[in-house]
Symmetry: C2
Subunit: 211 residues, 2 copies
DNA sequence: AGCGTTAAGTTAACACCGTTAATTATTTGT
DNA sequence: ACAAATAATTAACGGTGTTAACTTAACGCT
């Protein structure tokens, strides 16, 4: 009921309050089940107030994705400090998978839910910034192995390798997230599937055997 | 307006009419945008009539999935005729990917959309039936290569291999379906990504080089 | 033949959803 | 002290999945 002209900082704070609680609800109840009214009730505002900060539900979702993409990049950044390029690449894949399986609902939102196409102009994130762009990080990690001569000679396109390696880890994580409870398949432990995937791709990629 | 007691056959026919038109709408408009009323209008019935054949929208979706799973198994069945186990395995992966990319909306429904857990009792499909269960087909294809001694000696769990290979192809297809239009990534051609994925996994799996 | 039961369909209605319009209350500047 | 602007609200709209109540037609019996 009581509105006050707010400082820019206070506006941003409320924006974050919405995002955080909306994310919380998505994580605990799944993406489909969350309504604008519920988000609003959670933060003690009316539903329409959300529209003062986000154009619509889709925009709110995208804003959540933005902060999650940033979180992913921040998580993975530490791994870039590993000295050996191949070890770094392996750890990067494991870090990615851990993120996916620790925050499955975030991951669904980011990589398994169709949104409007993600033009770089629609986000605050900076493309090709090693602090913010996890895909750029991946390209660098892969390219460093390439430059170190680690890959087989037939493999000449580092970006193609990056996209394929990504797809491999994504495939394992995505099936786990969507079908883990499915009785049709007798799933092997997720750790085993991740390890085998990395093993297979590594021995396909690397010039010399690695263990 | 005019109801007549229907033979079992006529009931099944109407059920299929609903499924077919519902699938049509999902494919052309995307999964989210389809409403029960729209499906009903399309077939010239009222919306509530659908509930005489399906408990709710989720059940309708699952019934559509059922027929699509059968379609996938039927498509892949021809490939099982290939004599050489390794060639068969390669062709199987390619056939799977072609299905995914030819019917992306079916594929999303089947493998990228969370439904209630898929207990074998809830479907008419027969598990472990080579005509109906594509996952069983995959297990057989992998196991045949295993029995023929094609895999490296360290690889002893055929089902684990099957699940990992599946994840690899799924990863490429799923990223393509969900992010192909995304400007953030400069995607390599999907055929290249599929080929590299198969190449990587093959050279990780097979005892001897294959080309 | 006529009557009740049942099946197949309908329309009406409910509760809820995302979203927009109209409205209220509070602060600030002059 | 008053007007403008801001931040919030309530009311309302059109649409959704779904349930309840009702209608119509066909069948089985006596």
């Amino acid at each position: 009921m009581p509105p006050k002209p707010k400082t820019e900082q206070a506006r941003e704070q409320l924006r974050m309050l919405i995002i955080d609680h909306a994310r919380d609800l998505f994580v605990s109840k799944g993406i489909e089940a969350v309504t604008m009214r519920e988000i609003a009730k959670r933060i003690g505002y009316s539903a329409t107030s959300i529209y003062l900060h986000f154009a619509d539900k889709e925009a709110l979702l995208r804003a959540i994705c933005d902060t999650d993409f940033l979180r992913l990049a921040t998580t993975l950044k530490e791994i870039l400090a590993i000295a050996d390029p191949i070890e770094r690449m392996i750890a990067f894949g494991q870090g990615y998978a851990r993120f996916a399986l620790t925050y499955p609902n975030h991951y669904r939102l980011m990589f398994m839910t169709p949104h409007l196409p993600y033009t770089p102009s629609q986000t605050a994130l900076q493309q090709n910034n090693a602090e913010q762009d996890a895909y750029f990080q991946l390209k660098m990690v892969i390219n460093d192995v390439y430059l170190a001569g680690g890959f087989k000679d037939a493999l000449q396109d580092a970006e193609l390798i990056a996209q394929t390696v990504w797809a491999g880890m994504h495939g394992v994580c995505a099936l786990q997230i969507i079908m883990a409870e499915d009785d049709w398949i007798q799933w092997r432990p997720i750790e085993d599937r991740l390890n085998v995937m990395q093993q297979l791709m590594l021995s396909g990629l690397l010039k010399e055997k690695y263990e």
